[in-house]
C-alpha cells in the first residue's frame, strides 16, 4: 500500500466517525448518514483499487477514472454551492421576520399622533 492510500483512508475514516457522531436526530439526517456510509465504502474501494474507477469511466465514455472523479466533484460542488445559497436566503428571510417582530413591538408613536 502506498503512503497516499494510507493517508486518504485515514481521512475517510475520520470523516465517517465525525458523520456518525453528529447527534442531529431528524429523519432526513438519517438518510444523510446512510449516504455518507455508502460514500465512505465507495471511497475506500476507489483508493485501494484506483484502476477500477477507470473501468467505470470507460463505461461512461471517459478515458481515465481520475477525470471521472473530477467531473463528479465539479457537479457536487455546484450543487453544494446552490443549496447553501438557498439556505442562506431562507435564513435571511427568517432573520428579517424576527427583526421585524422586534421592531413592531418597539414602535414609537409621536406625541400628537
Amino acid at each position: 500500500m502506498n503512503w497516499i492510500q494510507a493517508l486518504l483512508i485515514l481521512a475517510i475514516v475520520a470523516l465517517l466517525v465525525y458523520l456518525l457522531r453528529s447527534r442531529t436526530s431528524a429523519r432526513t439526517k438519517a438518510w444523510v448518514k446512510v449516504g455518507g456510509v455508502l460514500f465512505v465504502i465507495a471511497a475506500v474501494y476507489a483508493v485501494l483499487r484506483p484502476d477500477d474507477t477507470t473501468v467505470v469511466a470507460n463505461w461512461l465514455g471517459v478515458d481515465r477514472g481520475a477525470d471521472l472523479i473530477g467531473y463528479v466533484l465539479i457537479i457536487a460542488f455546484v450543487f453544494t454551492t446552490l443549496s447553501t445559497y438557498m439556505r442562506f436566503k431562507d435564513l435571511e428571510l427568517r432573520y428579517a421576520r424576527l427583526a421585524r417582530a422586534v421592531a413592531l413591538q418597539g414602535a414609537r408613536v409621536p406625541d400628537d399622533g
Binding site: 438557498m86 427583526a99 421585524r100 414609537r108
Partner: protein, 229 residues
C-alpha cells in the same frame, strides 16, 4: 384634515440630514406617517419621531424591501387605515404626485397605482444610461410586460387595504420592486401607472442604487418562488 385613512410608509436608512424635512413636508398634507428606520445609527429614527412620524426601528439593517414590509405591516394594523403609499426618504418624490395617485386609486377602481418616469410627456428624465437599463428591466420582466408597466423600479406606490393585507415581500434588498409587480400578477391585483416626476438632486443621486445592482435584481428574480415561504 383630509386623507385620514391614508398611511405613508417611509423606509429610511442613514437619512439623518434630510429625514426631518421630508417627514415634515409629508405631514403638511398627511397625518399618518410611519418611518421605518432600517437600523441606522445616525439618529434617523429620533429625527423622524420629532418630525411627527410613527417610528419602527429595525434592530439591524435589513434592506429596503424588508423595511417596506415592516412599515406596511405596522400601517395596516392601525385603525381606519385604508390607503397606503410608499415614499422614499431621500426627498426624490413629490407630494403632489402622491395626491394624484391617491385620487387615481379611487377614481380608476384599481388596487395599486405605481409611479412611472417614462410617461410622455415628462419633465424629469433620468440620466441616459439609467433610462436604458430601467426600460430594459421593464421590458425583460414578463410580469411588467403583462401589466404593461413602463418603469420597473419606481419607489412611489399607492395601494389599498387588499394589497397591504396580501403583501409579503421576501426580498430584503432592492429586488422588492420586481417582487411587488410579481405579487400583483400572482394575486390578480389591478395595477395602473401614473406619471411622476423624480427630483434627481445630488443627494438622491448619491443615495441611489448603483446600476450594477440591476444584475442582482435579475438574479433574485430568477430565484424567487423557488424558495420555501
Amino acid at each position: 384634515m383630509r386623507y385620514q385613512d391614508v398611511w405613508i410608509v417611509v423606509p429610511a436608512y442613514k437619512e439623518a440630514s434630510v429625514i426631518g424635512d421630508v417627514i415634515s413636508d409629508i405631514r403638511s398634507v398627511f397625518d399618518h406617517v410611519v418611518c421605518v428606520d432600517d437600523g441606522s445609527k445616525d439618529g434617523t429614527g429620533d429625527l423622524a419621531l420629532r418630525a411627527g412620524a410613527h417610528v419602527v426601528s429595525h434592530p439591524v439593517n435589513l434592506g429596503q424591501g424588508a423595511a417596506i414590509q415592516t412599515g406596511v405591516e405596522y400601517a395596516r394594523s392601525q385603525p381606519g387605515a385604508q390607503v397606503f403609499a410608499t415614499f422614499d426618504a431621500d426627498g426624490q418624490h413629490r407630494l403632489k404626485d402622491v395626491i394624484a395617485m391617491i385620487d387615481r386609486l379611487s377614481t380608476d377602481d384599481v388596487d395599486m397605482v405605481v409611479g412611472t418616469r417614462f410617461a410622455e410627456p415628462s419633465a424629469s428624465k433620468p440620466p441616459l444610461l439609467k433610462r436604458i437599463i430601467l426600460r430594459a428591466a421593464a421590458l425583460l420582466s414578463p410580469n411588467s410586460r403583462q401589466l404593461r408597466l413602463t418603469d420597473a423600479h419606481n419607489g412611489l406606490r399607492v395601494f389599498n387595504k387588499k394589497v397591504a393585507d396580501g403583501l409579503n415581500i421576501t426580498m430584503n434588498g432592492m429586488s422588492h420592486a420586481s417582487e411587488f409587480i410579481a405579487l400583483a400578477v400572482e394575486n390578480g391585483w389591478r395595477v395602473a401607472e401614473e406619471p411622476v416626476e423624480i427630483l434627481y438632486t445630488d443627494y438622491s443621486k448619491s443615495k441611489g442604487q448603483p446600476l450594477l445592482n440591476g444584475v442582482n435584481i435579475i438574479f433574485d428574480g430568477l430565484l424567487r418562488g423557488r424558495l420555501s415561504r
